[in-house]
Subunit: 159 residues, 2 copies
């Protein structure tokens, strides 16, 4: 099934404005919290697609790791540097398809611009999609695998 | 900013096996619940990327609405047929970039195949990425805009 797989071209709907100019500035690893404010600037002609978005407190943002070249199927990550983990069991940027997913809090809208809190993207990051965050997995049903183990081992706390 | 925007080609990492052969079979609208079981079949060479995924109870799946042509910036949806809503304030398949996002429960793994519960994709849907679900927005902090209003109006209950 790997030989004749189609590719799907994705065109940015806009770009992230964030305080981060370099990946070294983005909080990572144990206890990393993302409270930074930023703006999602959509292409002006897409503004009608934001109708009624103000009613949602949180949004999913799908975006492109446009400055992460290549892909590693397993990698060591800052939270657990000793053991490698599979790319699909981590948020590593070096993925087969370089798509990032963030949950942000919607603070307000001016036209085609959304002010949000919780950005963990670089300034200028291309945005592919925005979706309403509708429901959560109850905490008592959530298992977080090696992430929970690594946090416990390091005494880290994560929101 | 709309003239010279790059496109990013995305290549499926695998495909969904689901009980749904046609969109009419997928539960939609008020009270829709997704308990269907299915399989995410990754390309065999990507199996190392699944290392340690078994420890996570829930996964994000990013996939392609490969049978939804075109895009509507506003649309009427089954939950609230009277009022149109912006595409970024809904899960409509007719999006600028036809990417779907689902949260599934991981039941087990055999090699490059993940058995999951909660599929709402058609059989044969291309998968772009899989990520661990790490944390939830607390229910008391979540506002669900027109979705909550439409559910209340119709007396629907949604998990």
């Amino acid at each position: 099934m790997s030989g004749d797989v189609l590719t799907y071209p994705m065109r940015p709907i806009g770009f992230v404005r964030s305080p981060y100019g370099d990946t070294s500035e983005i909080p990572k690893g144990p206890g990393a919290e993302h409270h930074a404010e930023g703006t999602l600037e959509l292409r002006p002609e897409l503004e009608p697609g934001l109708q009624d978005i103000e009613g949602f407190s949180h949004l999913f943002v799908l975006w492109v790791f446009d400055r992460a070249g290549g892909c590693d199927l397993t990698a060591n990550v800052p939270l657990d540097p000793e053991a490698p983990h599979g790319v699909f069991a981590s948020r590593s940027p070096r993925r087969p398809n370089p798509i990032g997913l963030s949950v942000v809090e919607l603070l307000g809208r001016e036209g085609a611009r959304l002010r949000v809190r919780g950005v963990d993207m670089l300034d200028g990051t291309p945005v592919l999609d925005i979706k309403p965050y509708l429901s959560s997995v109850p905490p008592e049903k959530l298992r977080r695998g090696w992430v929970a183990e690594a946090e416990a081992k390091r005494g880290g706390v994560r929101s």
